[in-house]
C-alpha cells in the first residue's frame, strides 16, 4: 500500500513546453499560484504540472545525485561479493547490491519524467558535473564493513530518505517509498550480520569494532553540513522537496543508533557522546567538516577509483548498447 496524498489539483495544468516559452523563472499568474498552493497543501506536483524552472533544476540535481549514489554505492560492498564467507551471506549481499541497481533504475526513471535521459545523467556523472553521496568515497576494508554499511550507512540514508516519501514531486516521492522499504531490509540484514559476528570469535568482534570506528563519523557527515552552512537547504524546504533540516535528521540518527550500538556491544568513537536528560537526546561531537569538504572536492580515499570503475564499465559496455540499438532498429525496419 502506497500512502500517497491524493492529488487534488484542478485539471488546469499545462505542458511545460508551452509554459517555459512564456517565462523562464517567474510563475505566470494562475500557474504559479497553483504550484505554490499545491506545495503549501502538501500535495504532489506531477510531471505535466507547471513548475518553476529552478524547482525542476533542483529536483534533477537531487534525484540524479541520488540515482548516482545508488549505482556508485554498488562498488564498496560489491567488492566483497566474491569473498562472502558463507553461501547465505553471498546470496544476501548479491541480492542487496542488485537492489541498489534497481534503485538506480527507479530514480533515473523519476528523473526522466523531468525531461533528462539516463544517458545524459551518466555523462554528467562521469564528467564530474554531478555528484554522488560522499560516503561511497570511503573504502570497504573487511567483511564487517558489509554489515556496518548496512547498519550505519543505510540507516543514515533511511533517516534522510523517509521524509522524502512525502516530497512534493510525485514520481520522486513514489520511488522513495519503494526504496525506503527495501533499504530498511538492507539495514536489518547489516545489523544482523554484525550481531552474528559479535557472537563469533574475538577476531570477529575486533573486526566489527574497527569497522564501526571507521564509519561512524562519515555516517554523520551523510546528513550534510550544519544547517547554517547548507546553501541549498532553505529553498528546498520552502518548495517541499526537502522536509527536515540536516541537523535535525543527524540528531534523529544519533538518538536511534546509540541504543543499537549498546545492544550490539560496540562503542562509538566520540568522547562527547552522552545522554542529555534535559533535551531527552544525545549530545555528540562535531564531525570533522574539513574532511567532509575535502572528500567533496574529490580528495577522499576512493573518489578517483569509484568514478574510474563506473567509466570503465560504461565504456566497456558501449558496444553492447550499440548492438541492442542497431538490432532494435533493424527489427523495426522489418515490420
Amino acid at each position: 500500500m502506497e500512502a500517497v496524498p491524493e492529488k487534488t489539483m484542478p485539471e488546469k495544468t499545462m505542458p511545460r513546453e508551452a509554459a517555459s516559452e512564456e517565462t523562464a523563472t517567474a510563475a505566470p499568474g494562475d500557474l504559479g499560484e497553483h504550484f505554490e498552493a499545491t506545495v503549501a497543501r502538501g500535495a504532489r506536483i506531477e510531471p505535466r504540472d507547471w513548475m518553476p524552472d529552478a524547482y525542476r533544476a533542483t529536483l534533477v540535481r537531487q534525484i540524479a545525485q541520488h540515482a548516482h549514489s545508488e549505482v556508485i554505492g554498488m562498488q564498496p560492498e560489491g567488492n566483497w561479493i566474491t569473498r562472502a564467507p558463507s553461501l547465505r551471506r553471498k546470496a544476501i549481499l548479491l541480492a542487496k547490491v542488485q537492489d541498489e541497481a534497481g534503485h538506480g533504475l527507479y530514480l533515473y526513471s523519476a528523473c526522466e519524467t523531468l525531461g533528462v535521459s539516463r544517458e545524459e545523467l551518466t555523462a554528467l556523472l562521469l564528467a564530474g558535473r554531478q555528484k554522488y553521496s560522499s560516503i561511497f568515497n570511503y573504502p570497504a576494508l573487511s567483511y564487517a564493513d558489509v554489515g556496518t554499511i548496512g547498519w550505519l550507512v543505510d540507516g543514515a540514508a533511511i533517516c534522510n530518505q523517509v521524509p522524502l516519501c512525502r516530497t512534493s514531486y510525485g514520481p520522486y516521492g513514489r520511488a522513495m517509498i519503494r526504496i525506503c522499504k527495501e533499504e530498511s531490509f538492507h539495514q536489518r540484514q547489516g545489523y544482523e550480520l554484525l550481531m552474528t559476528m559479535m557472537r563469533g570469535t574475538g577476531e570477529q568482534r575486533a573486526m566489527v569494532q574497527e569497522s564501526v570506528d571507521r564509519f561512524w563519523w562519515p555516517s554523520l557527515m551523510m546528513f550534510g553540513p550544519p544547517d547554517a552552512d547548507s546553501p541549498n537547504s532553505a529553498r528546498s524546504m520552502a518548495w517541499g522537496i526537502k522536509r527536515n533540516g540536516n541537523d535535525e535528521l543527524r540528531q534523529r540518527f544519533v538518538d536511534m543508533t546509540v541504543p543499537q550500538a549498546e545492544a550490539l556491544g560496540v562503542s562509538l568513537p566520540d568522547p562527547d557522546l552522552r545522554w542529555n536528560a534535559e533535551r531527552e537526546s544525545y549530545d555528540f561531537g562535531e564531525p570533522d567538516w574539513s574532511e567532509f569538504a575535502a572528500v567533496l572536492r574529490g580528495e577522499g580515499p576512493c573518489n578517483a577509483q569509484r568514478l574510474a570503475h563506473r567509466a570503465r564499465a560504461h565504456e566497456d559496455g558501449a558496444w553492447v548498447r550499440n548492438a541492442a540499438l542497431a538490432f532494435a532498429k533493424a527489427g523495426a525496419a522489418h515490420e
Binding site: 500500500m1 500512502a3 497543501r41 502538501g42 500535495a43 549505482v71 554498488m74 562498488q75 560489491g78 561479493i81 566474491t82 569473498r83 562472502a84 564467507p85 558463507s86 553461501l87 547465505r88 551471506r89 553471498k90 546470496a91 548479491l94 541480492a95 547490491v97 542488485q98 541497481a101 538506480g104 533504475l105 567483511y143 540507516g155 533511511i158 523517509v162 516519501c165 525506503c180 522499504k181 530498511s184 531490509f185 539495514q187 536489518r188 540484514q189 550480520l193 552474528t196 559476528m197 563469533g200 570469535t201 577476531e203 570477529q204 536511534m256 543499537q260 570503475h309 564499465a313 566497456d316 559496455g317 558501449a318 558496444w319 553492447v320 548498447r321 550499440n322 548492438a323 541492442a324 538490432f327
Partner: protein
C-alpha cells in the same frame, strides 16, 4: 502547518527502525533463520543407489552451479547496462540457490565428503554448516564442476555464449532429472527447470541480438562462442558415477540429452545466421577432467578468492 497532509498516511514509512530487534522475519529476503533447505522433502537414499555415488553426483551438479554463479557475480557493478547487471545477478542467485540445495544433499547422503575444519574438535565444534564447509574448505581437486563453469568471464559476448551453452545443457538435463527416484534431486530439478528456462531465454535473446546487431558485436559474440565451445563436449561426456546412477533411475546420463541440447543450440545459431562451430575441444588431463577433480588453472585462483575470508576465520560465525 495546517496544510500538511495527514500524518497517518505516512506512519508506516516513518519508522524504518521498527522491528530491528526481532519480530517480522518474513520481511527478510532470505529469512533470519537458517533452516535446513531440504526440510519437508523425503531424504532417504533410494533403493539400489550408492550413497557415496549420490553424494559425488550432487557435487557435480552443485559445483557447476556454485562456480558459474561465482563467475556471474563478478559482473556485479560492471555490466553494460543496469538492466543487465540485475539480470546477471538474478541468474547468479538462482544458481547459488541450486548449489546450496545440492551441496546440502551431498553432505546428507555421504557426510564423509564434508572436509574437517581446522581448529574444530569435539570440545570446539565447528559453527560452519555443511554447505559452507563444502564450498569454502574443499580444495580445487575435490571440486567436480565442468570446465565450462570455471572459465574466465571474457567480455559480455563470451559471457552470453557461456550462459547459452550451460543453460541449454543443464535445462535438458534437469527436465529429465525431475523424474529421479531421489526425491531431493527431483525437487531441485523441478525448481531448476523454471530458472534455467529463463537463463536460456535470456542468453538466446542476447546471443541473437549481438550476432545481428553491429559488425563489432557479431565479431565479439562469435569469438566468445568459439572460446566457450572448447568445453562443449565435456558437458555431455558421462562420468562412471553418472552412468551408474542413471542405471538406478536416480541420475541422468548427460550423453542422453546431447541431441536435445544441440538441437536447441542449432535453433539459436540459425536465428543468428551463424554456422555450427568447428572448434577443437579442450583436451583432458591424462583422461581426467572436471568431473574427476582435474581442472584448468582458473579454478584454484577463483577458489583462493572465494574462500579467503572463510578460511581466515574457520571458527567464525557469519
Amino acid at each position: 502547518m495546517t496544510h500538511e497532509a495527514p500524518a497517518s498516511e505516512h506512519d508506516d514509512h516513518d519508522s524504518p527502525y521498527e522491528g530491528l530487534f526481532g519480530g517480522d522475519s518474513d520481511h527478510w529476503a532470505f529469512g533470519t533463520d537458517f533452516d535446513d533447505p531440504l526440510a519437508g522433502i523425503e531424504a532417504t537414499i533410494p533403493d539400489g543407489a550408492d550413497p557415496r555415488a549420490l553424494a559425488q553426483y550432487c557435487l557435480m551438479l552443485g559445483d557447476d552451479a556454485l562456480v558459474l554463479s561465482h563467475r556471474l557475480s563478478q559482473w556485479c557493478g560492471r555490466a553494460p547496462e543496469l538492466e543487465l547487471d540485475i539480470a546477471l545477478a538474478n541468474i547468479a542467485l538462482d544458481l547459488l540457490g541450486q548449489a546450496r540445495l545440492l551441496l546440502a544433499r551431498a553432505a546428507s547422503a555421504d557426510p564423509s565428503v564434508v572436509p574437517p575444519l581446522p581448529g574444530a574438535s569435539e570440545a570446539v565444534p565447528s559453527p560452519v554448516p555443511a554447505e559452507d564447509a563444502l564450498a569454502f574448505f574443499r580444495d580445487d581437486r575435490a571440486y567436480r564442476n565442468a570446465w565450462l563453469a570455471e572459465a574466465p568471464n571474457g567480455d559480455f559476448g563470451q559471457t552470453v555464449a557461456r550462459i547459452l551453452l550451460f543453460a541449454t545443457a543443464r535445462l535438458a538435463l534437469l527436465e529429465r532429472l525431475r523424474a529421479s527416484r531421489d526425491a531431493v534431486l527431483a525437487a531441485v530439478a523441478a525448481k531448476g527447470v523454471r530458472e534455467l528456462a529463463y537463463h536460456r531465454d535470456f542468453a538466446a535473446r542476447w546471443f541473437v541480438t549481438l550476432a545481428q546487431g553491429t559488425e563489432e558485436s557479431r565479431r565479439r559474440v562469435t569469438a566468445g562462442l568459439a572460446e566457450v565451445w572448447r568445453h562443449h563436449d565435456e558437458l555431455f561426456r558421462a562420468h562412471p558415477v553418472e552412468r551408474e546412477l542413471a542405471g538406478a533411475g536416480v541420475a541422468v546420463d548427460p550423453a542422453d540429452v546431447a541431441g536435445e541440447a544441440d538441437a536447441a543450440l542449432a535453433t539459436v545459431l540459425a536465428a543468428s545466421d551463424l554456422p555450427w562451430p568447428e572448434v577443437p575441444q579442450a583436451g583432458q588431463l591424462g583422461g581426467r577432467s572436471g568431473r574427476d577433480g582435474a581442472h584448468t588453472e582458473a579454478l584454484s585462483s577463483l577458489l583462493a578468492e572465494m574462500q579467503s575470508v572463510a578460511r581466515a576465520h574457520p571458527l567464525g560465525r557469519w
